[in-house]
Symmetry: C2
Subunit: 366 residues, 2 copies
Amino acid sequence: MIISNFFIFVYNIGEIKLERNYYAKLIGRLKMQKRIFSGKFYLLSFNIILLSFLFCPLVGVAQTDPLPSWNDTSTKKYIIQFVQTVTNPGSDDYVEPEDRIATFDNDGNLWIEQPLYTQLAFAIDRIKAMSPEHPEWKDTEPYKSVLKGDYSKLDKNGLLEIISVTHSGMTTEEFELISSAWFKTSKHPRFKRSYSELIYKPMVELLEYLRANGFKTYIVSGGGIDFMRPVTEQLYGIPPEQVVGTSGVSKFEIRDGKPVLVKMPEIFFIDDNEGKPVGIHQFIGKRPIFASGNSDGDYEMLLWTTSGPGKRFGLLLHHDDAEREYAYDRKSHIGKLDKALDAASKNKWVVVSMKRDWKTVFPFEN
Amino acid sequence: MIISNFFIFVYNIGEIKLERNYYAKLIGRLKMQKRIFSGKFYLLSFNIILLSFLFCPLVGVAQTDPLPSWNDTSTKKYIIQFVQTVTNPGSDDYVEPEDRIATFDNDGNLWIEQPLYTQLAFAIDRIKAMSPEHPEWKDTEPYKSVLKGDYSKLDKNGLLEIISVTHSGMTTEEFELISSAWFKTSKHPRFKRSYSELIYKPMVELLEYLRANGFKTYIVSGGGIDFMRPVTEQLYGIPPEQVVGTSGVSKFEIRDGKPVLVKMPEIFFIDDNEGKPVGIHQFIGKRPIFASGNSDGDYEMLLWTTSGPGKRFGLLLHHDDAEREYAYDRKSHIGKLDKALDAASKNKWVVVSMKRDWKTVFPFEN
């Protein structure tokens, strides 16, 4: 049995990336050991690692479920089939590792976006925190309503003002401290947990599975780049340089004899709708072969991704689980999913039903 | 001797990245072998690779000169000392691999920029190639002079017009084909070689040396992002997503039922001077610990890089070798180096003399 497993492993060329993952782990362990052991023990421990490396595949890793939080529905099969095909050097649809680009929307796709976008919840909390220094806000809209907890009157201009006031005037490094601190103290109104806990476990597994198969995973979000970057590595294993998003103008200045970048109140780039393929071109310079979104704001990114040559994967997450999360689509103000849902079957995008396809929603569930 | 070399290797923690390089090579070989051998021979070849991996370090790799095209001057020593320090986990100045960001200007720093910027040489060649379709150009400036080979009258507006006409109107994919083809047929007026051969060998070695030590190497250039990206992987081992540069607006459109990105004649972002730290923040989201440039356009990037906490490296390449390349600095229209040269000693930037520090300039020299 063990031997047959080994040969399944060897023959399954699609699994070669799993081996690469072993090397990565091996390197990590080597580095650890290098700090712990002196040179005398080094050669010995090195051999032990080599041996463990040699026997690891024998104990059935090839059979481990890479997506344990996904139910065994056709969706999961499509994902695994796609990954096995594009990583199989014998396949006509083989894709070289450097072209395995996967892009993920963030709001409502990797983290929660209801009842308010996470970044808007941050901005509102900031308005409250900043209000003692702005007594005039008590009598001025949109601040007056926001301070009372009434967000129903927030129109587009009001939103822009609140985002602008809370996201500019400071240096990029100061903003990073402010937003990182907020994630630690924030509390979602329904789940009573920090927003950093309200990420979708199945999607984190999908990101890890893709990376284990040589994909480079990117966030391509309408959300603010400076707001997401300080937390994406910890939440999703995505480093700052792989986060594409909306951004304001930054200005280089010398303050107290030191260079700083100051966040200005003007928009530099809106990474939503048509902006997503543009942002992908600007920041990545390659067309993804895998894209995942959940709203009409992702329509153009999905179209751009799946209309390229060769095998492609478009994933559309449908929030249809009011019990465990939220159910919303065509008529929602946040994360409206209408045009993209209609376009899914024509473009062969896989619609993920949160209710049917996900065993677990949030990491804290088990 | 062999054994002592091995222990030097083991003890020299700074060299750990060389090992990572071995893993990368090993993976490459595994993949090759996987295609060549059937499963039956796989286990055997796998063991041979493991053995060769084990003994490779014994044959003196630790003593190989990582920068063979650099003369043994203090400059080379500073570079190696810096890399050894920041990669030594026992050092107070140790930097985690994810923060080992190195940014390189391109024009005059990685490839030639005299007597005309490479991208300008491309634009002029394009004007000539496009002229049969534009008979009116024979009588209209700046085209008239350019078609006669007289570039002396090209002022800023003329330059912008020539760049705009040759860099917009087509899709991003069409432009990639045009610019890639040009590199194959282009000829430098003095060296009579393609511009893709006129890259600096010592700098390519420096990029490789940094990467072998866990650095992520980026281009941060005033040049056009779409012009550089199709060739940077082949020339420098830098993939498209690690190229930051100046760019025009791209527009998402549906043409013949397919989505395309069309290059528009408007500027989106100028990645020069103050734009370089801004571009670094936008695209990378981290402050580099190593930056290399050769002109006043790199002053702000060098300042931004070297004013961060911890050990930093600023490199300023001085073109002082008229015999092998060109000698120019304070009064040059292209690659003017004045303010940054004056600021070098105060900021402890290492000024590289092409004449004194480089054994070889171009790859074709040996």
